[in-house]
Subunit: 256 residues, 2 copies
């Protein structure tokens, strides 16, 4: 690549979160960094976009460094759309999202604002990576991830990704043994609602639950994380179940 | 099936929307209906869930009929979780979501609250269908859809669906020629932001755009809709790109 790469950074924990500050720090060595991130936390936003409300964009100076930074009132997916179509002069060479606090492995990819930003970038034709650390602590140590984040990002900058693919990268909270490319595990949340009563006597609920891995495969992201590996799952935005397609012929009909 | 089927109905346009009222009306002939739907519109919510806020549930009586109805302060995916784990005594035999106003075909499946509810149900092991009519008008005529909605719902009640599959069903706004099982088209939104200024002099944006189908295939949902067919796409929640998996071996590493 002759020009300095342009790297777009976003997240779902908000522009001041420690995870995105670490990611900005790691990426500055790899290219010109522009940050476009939500002005407040957006966890669990899935692939939400703002269609019935207005969007604000504000230039920010959060800490030192050469990077340009903008906060928006939108979701992670909105941030990527705004960056590509309003804020940036050219299409970024890479979009990185995160580093998220908490796992986006397995079924969590569907609920993840971090990954929805990466998937949105892949829809826009931008090679994209979502990074998450399986540690909810706001004081988690991101510095040990630096060589892995850079290795994977450099690799994607050099080789690109298959069109329409984003990488879902998760880091174990334990010592790292290596990197494994894998598939999404078949695991679920077993939900439980914590029912409480407000001071005004109204019932309300908190969503809680327990994560259960039903997948015995050793080629899954959950297996990799449980065994100390960084998991890398290539994800795409084609939700079609091709396996099911062949089993539904009885639904086809043609009017006379 | 010996027992009367239990049918859970939800949507993303809110519990009073004409589309869900029509769907309730159609489903009453097929089983016992319980409605758990958002108390306000949730369009574009994707697979959002409420993790950082409380959830309220309220018993409702919106119109006549035997169905039990509840509104919630949550997203469509929240509604399904609340129904399964708090409101219902047994797992529903079918979950139907919609009828949505506007297309959920092609890439729209990712942004769709209607489909996220159906996909959430499929994660919970409930056969599920999301219905959408490609007509944004609040006065759209849903009655012409009745035979198709019932046909597809009966079919799923009788035969089930492959585990982990939900159906994304879209109706053209034109005369219906039949039903086609198909794959998700490779189509995109070409976004444009409409930039305006508030009375206080602050810039803001509205997300707009044009839908572009880049897919020449005649086996896609967009082709079916453009040619007067009801499109039925089986979708699953495994986002892994198996095609890309084989091309990323260079990312695997193992520490010494």
């Amino acid at each position: 690549m002759s020009k300095t790469p342009l790297i777009l950074i976003t997240n779902d924990d908000g522009i001041t979160a420690p995870g995105i500050r670490a990611l900005i720090n790691f990426m500055r060595e790899l290219g010109d960094v522009v940050v476009v991130a939500p002005d407040s936390p957006q966890s669990g936003m899935g692939h939400a976009i703002t269609v019935n409300n207005t969007l604000y964009v504000r230039k920010e100076k959060v800490d030192s460094g050469e990077q340009r930074e903008y906060s928006t009132s939108g979701t992670p997916a909105d941030c990527v759309k705004l960056a590509k179509h309003e804020i940036l002069d050219r299409t970024p060479d890479l979009c990185v999202s995160g580093i998220n606090h908490g796992s986006n492995a397995s079924i969590n990819v569907l609920y993840s604002g971090t990954m929805s930003a990466a998937i949105e970038a892949s829809i826009e034709g931008i090679p994209a990576i979502g990074f998450s650390l399986c540690d909810f602590s706001w004081n988690a140590d991101f510095s040990v991830l630096e060589p892995y984040v850079k290795l994977i990002a450099r690799n994607v900058l050099d080789r690109g990704l298959p069109l329409g693919t984003a990488l879902n990268v998760n880091f174990p909270a334990t010592e790292i043994k290596g990197v494994k490319v894998c598939r999404q595990a078949k695991a679920n949340w077993i939900e439980k609602f914590d029912k409480r009563q407000s001071p005004m006597g109204q019932d309300y609920y908190w969503l809680t639950g327990e994560f259960k891995n039903f997948d015995q495969g050793e080629d899954t992201d959950q297996w990799a994380l449980d065994h100390g590996y960084v998991s890398v799952v290539p994800v795409h935005f084609d939700m079609t179940s091709y396996a099911a397609l062949a089993q539904l012929d009885h639904l086809n009909s043609h009017n006379e």
